[in-house]
Each structure stands twice: as structure tokens, then as C-alpha cells.
């Protein structure tokens, strides 16, 4: 897809990040054809559909054009715009591992007009895909560091790709701690995946739920309540956050309390996105466009605007 080449030019550091991945994967540099039309989706087929919970499902996609599919590159933390015929587009993060998975996985929660419609699709159905867009997680900065991942609700989805990425290259990272908070214990997705990660060396997985249940052995309360169980070492720990902004704001405060610098805390933000290329203006956050300058930001880039209500 032409998008890959363009985003390398669009966003210097993330482009470089994902480019280095694709070079390793394919043994050649990414394609350099010029961007043709930034608005135009491409046809994709749903190869498999997985129901994760009552309201959450995963679509595994393949671009209909084989050459485009083969050339498609992305970095963990980037997103695609998925288009439902006759209805519209939504930004959905890519859950796959950029080097190991052939299909493009998108985990989606039914929350509105477009996602309700996409939820009715099944394997073999078609939708539109354009992307990938935005700047993903800081993969190079993570190398050799301890990594703390704090997610809330479906914020776990944009993090799955980077967790998979680290687990498949486990020796290149220090201690990995994954904290996942949910509202209701039934909301916890991917138990098997978390268990597999927890079994990896130097890897801890802790859960919290605002509402627990009889079979919920983990923490009850906000995800920041798990912080008493961890001791991240400032200076060698990077934190990756994804979830509702209130949850991320509380987490940032807790991490600062533990001595982490804002430059060591990375957040994936969410705003309304229509064009995904920094033109429609919906995703503005101060002087940033979340769709192209983010969605992943270092906290130092967006403080003190982050956590201002209604900004």
C-alpha cells in the first residue's frame, strides 16, 4: 500500500522505526512510490472473525490486491481507517505483530454506527482499509529497558502489538510488567494470551477490575491500585499507557510519584479522526494532530495540556 512509503516521509521518527522493521523482514527497503490519494481506501477481505466478548470482536484482514498486501508495512501502535460500505470510517489500531503475522488484526468494540455495522460482517465480507497512520510506540527506546505497560479497558488492544513484539524478542528487553485494568471482571479479554506472557521470563502480569466477581482473584479498584505491587526503577524503566484519559492521567501521577520522568512515560491518545492525515482538524490537541503526530506521545511532549478537561 502506498501509505507506508508516505508515512515514512510524513512522520520522521516513527517512519524510521517501522521502516527498520520492514527492512529486517523483507530484506529490502520500503517502497518509495509517491503518495497518490490520501483519502482513498483499499478493498480488504475479512479472512477470519473472532468474538472476544459480547461487544468486542477481532477481524483478521487481507488486502484484496496481493501485491499491496505483501507491501503493506506498519509499526506497533499505528492504526488503520476501516471503512464500512455506505456508512463511513473508523480509526482502529492494528493488533498484529508487524513481522510475524501475515494478516492484519483489528480488535473492535461495538460503540457506534460504524462499529455496529462492522460487527455484523463475517468472514468473506469486504470492507475498506487505508493506512497505516500515525506514530507508534517508541520501539528503539524500549530496547534494553524495563518496560511497564499500563492499560485500561480496550486500551489493551493498541498495546497488544507492542507486547507481542517484545515477547517474540524477549532477550532484547529487561523486566516487563503488564498491568491491565477493566471496569467489570467480565470485560477481561485474552486471558490465554496474558497467561502465556506471564509465563515468559522476567515478565509479570497483574489485573484489576472496578467490579470483581467470585472468580476474580486479582485487585479490585482502579489500575493504579496495582502500583503497590511493583517497583519500577526510574532511569531504566519506560512506561507505555493506553486507556481512558482519566485512567492515564491517574497513572501518570502515580508514575511521577514513583520517580519516572515524563520523557519515560508514553501515552496513546484518542480523538475524533476523519481524515487520519492531519487535515480535517478533528483530532487537534493543543498544537498537535493526534492522527499524525501521535497517537503515541511522550508525556513530556503533551504536558501540561494532558489531563486538562475538555481540551
Amino acid at each position: 500500500m502506498a501509505a507506508r512509503a508516505a508515512s515514512a516521509a510524513a512522520v520522521a521518527s516513527p517512519g524510521a522505526r517501522s521502516e527498520s522493521i520492514s527492512r529486517k523482514k523483507r530484506g529490502r527497503s520500503v517502497q518509495t512510490e509517491p503518495w497518490v490519494n490520501p483519502h482513498l481506501p483499499h478493498e480488504a477481505e475479512i479472512v477470519e472473525r473472532i468474538d472476544e466478548s459480547e461487544h468486542v470482536f477481532t477481524l483478521k484482514l487481507r488486502l484484496a490486491n496481493p501485491a499491496q498486501h505483501a507491501a503493506y508495512r506498519f509499526a506497533p501502535g499505528q492504526f488503520n481507517m476501516l471503512y464500512l460500505y455506505g456508512v463511513g470510517e473508523v480509526p482502529i489500531s492494528i493488533v498484529s505483530d508487524p513481522e510475524h503475522d501475515d494478516l492484519l488484526d483489528h480488535t473492535i468494540r461495538r460503540v457506534g454506527r460504524v462499529t455496529d455495522g462492522i460487527a455484523a460482517l463475517k468472514a468473506g465480507d469486504r470492507l475498506g482499509v487505508r493506512g497505516p497512520y500515525g506514530r507508534g510506540w517508541p520501539l528503539d527506546a524500549l530496547e534494553g529497558k524495563d518496560v511497564l505497560i499500563v492499560t485500561g479497558g480496550l486500551g489493551c488492544a493498541p498495546s497488544v502489538s507492542v507486547i507481542q513484539y517484545m515477547m517474540r524478542r524477549r532477550a532484547r528487553f529487561g523486566a516487563v510488567t503488564i498491568l491491565q485494568g477493566v471496569k467489570h471482571y467480565n470485560d477481561l479479554l485474552w486471558r490465554a494470551r496474558y497467561e502465556a506472557w506471564a509465563a515468559m521470563p522476567r515478565t509479570r502480569v497483574l489485573f484489576s477490575a472496578d467490579t470483581g466477581g467470585p472468580l476474580w482473584p486479582w485487585h479490585i479498584g482502579p489500575v493504579t491500585g496495582l502500583f503497590e505491587h511493583i517497583e519500577p526503577e526510574p532511569g531504566r524503566t519506560l512506561a507505555l499507557l493506553c486507556g481512558p484519559e482519566g485512567m492515564m492521567a491517574a497513572t501518570v501521577r502515580a508514575l511521577r510519584g514513583l520517580g519516572l520522568a515524563d520523557s519515560a512515560i508514553w501515552l496513546s491518545l484518542e480523538r475524533s479522526m476523519h481524515c487520519a492525515v492531519g487535515q480535517c482538524g478533528h483530532c487537534q490537541f493543543g498544537g498537535k494532530f493526534v492522527c499524525k503526530d501521535g497517537p503515541v506521545f511522550a508525556c513530556s511532549e503533551i504536558a501540561p495540556l494532558f489531563s486538562v478537561k475538555g481540551l
Binding site: A10, G128, H274, H282
Partner: protein, 375 residues
């Protein structure tokens, strides 16, 4: 097709075109293949519409503007550019209020074919462009055309545009382009620039294409006296401006005062009607919508102007990020005068004053900025 060939040396001197020969300018542009858009009076306002005869221009018409007020009146002698600006800028000609981006067809097997809307651009010459609007155009260019992912439709229309500026000598009471550094004299971005005198026009070429048109006009060399009169009129226009922003870079001040009580005060008056964003020559927000055909075989994906003053603008699942007018006005002002510095290296305000004039309740951006920035 319009003439855009570099076969002659650029015209650098200022020429004089007698008023009786202004029609030649329109004729030469038409001969060169341009549709000419210029100022005309319609619905009680000066708007940009197609013009073929100079008699269609607003002769003897001037404007009276104030917060929430716009009136045309007689009193400009025989001049036809003795007004400040109307509700439109160049924006609608390039970033159109609504257009198709692409169409998708679905066949009986459910396969989708995405067809981009071909960029359609006809050569257009715009007569009577103000310095503030040229500054705004440069910002829109930076946003839609000059980034890594240029918008095809905007870029095509922009390439086919020929601009005839008129140095502004009649700023309205709502104008403040001196304080933003964008006027009243047009210094860049035009193909031709005119200074209107009582008996004719000083003409300067700003591009090779402009020079080609200028050579075809029955001009004579401008006299020193004519040039001095024109310069004095621009100067006196600059001095006549009554409003000003409190500085050209308010970024840190505004973002440092996000909880200032003035945001709530202005929200009590603001109707969240989005007029200010519609008339603003630099506002670029749009939303995208699908328009499916009745038989279900195809759907057209369109975009149309949107505004940060609408509820839906910041909607994500679970509600709007900026649910109230306080948050929306704050977003607009802090973005326009603050966030723009990060995005495009300068303020997003060019001092045209349209947002003051066309606000139904007369909210004044200069007054609000001053109030928030005051200690």
C-alpha cells in the same frame, strides 16, 4: 488554457492602467482562458462571483463593519475597491464547502471498487484579493498542499489560480491586519497587484504569469506622483485600524491560561453557531460523510466544512471531548492564536476581522485575547 510560460523577462516596473481601460484586464484574462471571479454586490454584501464586465463591480460602494454588523453604503466616489472585505475569502474557491472525495461501487458478490474523484480544476482569476486573504491562502497552502500528503483536489485548483490583489486602503472598523503583520499592503503571493487611484490603477506583476497578462494591457509607466499617492493611501489605511491583537505569538500565554474565568464569560454570550469558523479564511476543519445511492450499488464519500463549535466535532465513543461552549470557544481561540504556531510556525489569524463582523452577538477576538492575556 491560461498562459503560464516563462518566455519573457519578468515585468518589474509599476505601470498605470487608466480606469477607462479596466475592461481590458477582464478581456485579456478571458482571452487567456481564465474565468474571472471578482467582487459584486449580492444580498447586501460584497461577494466573489463571476465577473465579465467592469460595470458589474461595486462602483461607489463601501462597507461599514462593526461587531455583529455589516452594511454596504454609497460613498466611495467612482472607485470599485473602496471596501475592506465581504464574508467570503479565497477559501471556498480552493477548500470547497462540500465535495466528493471518492466513490465506492459494490458488486453482487460484495466486492468493493474504490474510485477516486478526479481533481477538476478550471483556470480561475480572482480580482480584488486582499493582503489578509493572501496570507490566509499561504496558510491553507501549507495545510492542504505543501505537506507530505497533498490534497489532490485542493492542489489542482490552487495550481489553476491567478490572483489579482488590490492593496487595501479602506480597512473596516473590525480589521486588524497591521497587528498580525499581514496587511494592508499585499507583499507576496499575487500574480498582479493593483492600487486603485481616482483615475485608474497602478499595476505590478508578482509572477511571470502576471507579467504576461500585464504586457497585454494598454498601460503607461506610472509617475512618481501616482506611486506616492498610492503609498500614502495604504499608509493611511494602516493608521486607520482601530483594533489589534496583544502580540503576534500568544501561544504560551494562552495555553498557560486554560482555566481563565474569561472562557466562561465568553461562553455565556457565544451561541456556538460556527459563523466565525465559516467566514475565517484559515479555518480548515472538515468532516466526512457517506451518501449511498438509493439502489445500494454505490456510495459517495464526501467532505464538508465542519467547525470546532459543533458538538459532533470532538465526538468519540462515549460523548464529546468538548461538550460545552466554554471548551469550544477556548479550543478555537487557543488553536487559532496558539496551536497554529506549533503546526505552521505562525498564528492562524491574519487580522481580516470577519469573525468579529459576522458573529451574531459581536464577540471580538481581539478583545477576548486581550482579556485572557491580561494579568
Amino acid at each position: 488554457m491560461p498562459v503560464r510560460v516563462d518566455i519573457e523577462a519578468p515585468v518589474t516596473e509599476t505601470r498605470f492602467l487608466p480606469r477607462a481601460d479596466l475592461q481590458r484586464l477582464l478581456d485579456v484574462l478571458a482571452e487567456a482562458g481564465y474565468e474571472c471571479i471578482g467582487p459584486r454586490v449580492r444580498d447586501g454584501a460584497i461577494v466573489y462571483d463571476p465577473v465579465t464586465r467592469v460595470s458589474e463591480l461595486p462602483h461607489g460602494v463601501t462597507d461599514r463593519q462593526g461587531p455583529g454588523e455589516y452594511r454596504l453604503q454609497a460613498g466611495a466616489g467612482g472607485r470599485c475597491f473602496a471596501w475592506a472585505n465581504g464574508p467570503q475569502a479565497l477559501k471556498p474557491l480552493l477548500f470547497t464547502p462540500q465535495e466528493s472525495l471518492w466513490t465506492v461501487r459494490r458488486d453482487a458478490q460484495g466486492r468493493l471498487a474504490f474510485i477516486p474523484a478526479p481533481p477538476v480544476a478550471r483556470p480561475v482569476a480572482v480580482l480584488g484579493v486582499r493582503a489578509c486573504d493572501l496570507a490566509a491562502l499561504r496558510l491553507q497552502d501549507a495545510h492542504f498542499r505543501d505537506g507530505p500528503r497533498p490534497d489532490p483536489a485542493y492542489s489542482a485548483r490552487r495550481d489553476a489560480l491567478f490572483l489579482i490583489a488590490v492593496h487595501c486602503t479602506h480597512p473596516a472598523a473590525t480589521c486588524f491586519c497591521v497587528s498580525t503583520g499581514d496587511g494592508p499592503r499585499a507583499d507576496f503571493g499575487y500574480d498582479l497587484a493593483l492600487s486603485e487611484l481616482d483615475d485608474g490603477f497602478l499595476v505590478e506583476a508578482g509572477s511571470v504569469a502576471g507579467g504576461v497578462i500585464l504586457r497585454r494591457l494598454p498601460t503607461v509607466e506610472a509617475t512618481t506622483d501616482q506611486r506616492q499617492v498610492a503609498a500614502r493611501e495604504i499608509e493611511s489605511g494602516a493608521r486607520a485600524q482601530q483594533r489589534a491583537l496583544p502580540g503576534t505569538d500568544l501561544r504560551d500565554t494562552l495555553f498557560g491560561r486554560l482555566e481563565h474565568p474569561r472562557w466562561e464569560e465568553v461562553a455565556q454570550r457565544c451561541l456556538s453557531c460556527a459563523n466565525c469558523t465559516s467566514v475565517c479564511p484559515t479555518c480548515f476543519c472538515y468532516s466526512e460523510h457517506d451518501v449511498p445511492s438509493l439502489d445500494g450499488t454505490e456510495s459517495t464519500h464526501t467532505r464538508q466544512w465542519d467547525s470546532c463549535f459543533t458538538f459532533g466535532h470532538s465526538y468519540i465513543h462515549g460523548g464529546a471531548v468538548r461538550g460545552g461552549t466554554r471548551e469550544r470557544y477556548r479550543q478555537w481561540l487557543t488553536h487559532k492564536l496558539g496551536g497554529w504556531h506549533d503546526q505552521y510556525g505562525r498564528s492562524g489569524c491574519v487580522g481580516c476581522g470577519r469573525c468579529i463582523t459576522w458573529c451574531p452577538v459581536g464577540i471580538d477576538i481581539t478583545e477576548e485575547a486581550r482579556a485572557v492575556c491580561a494579568d
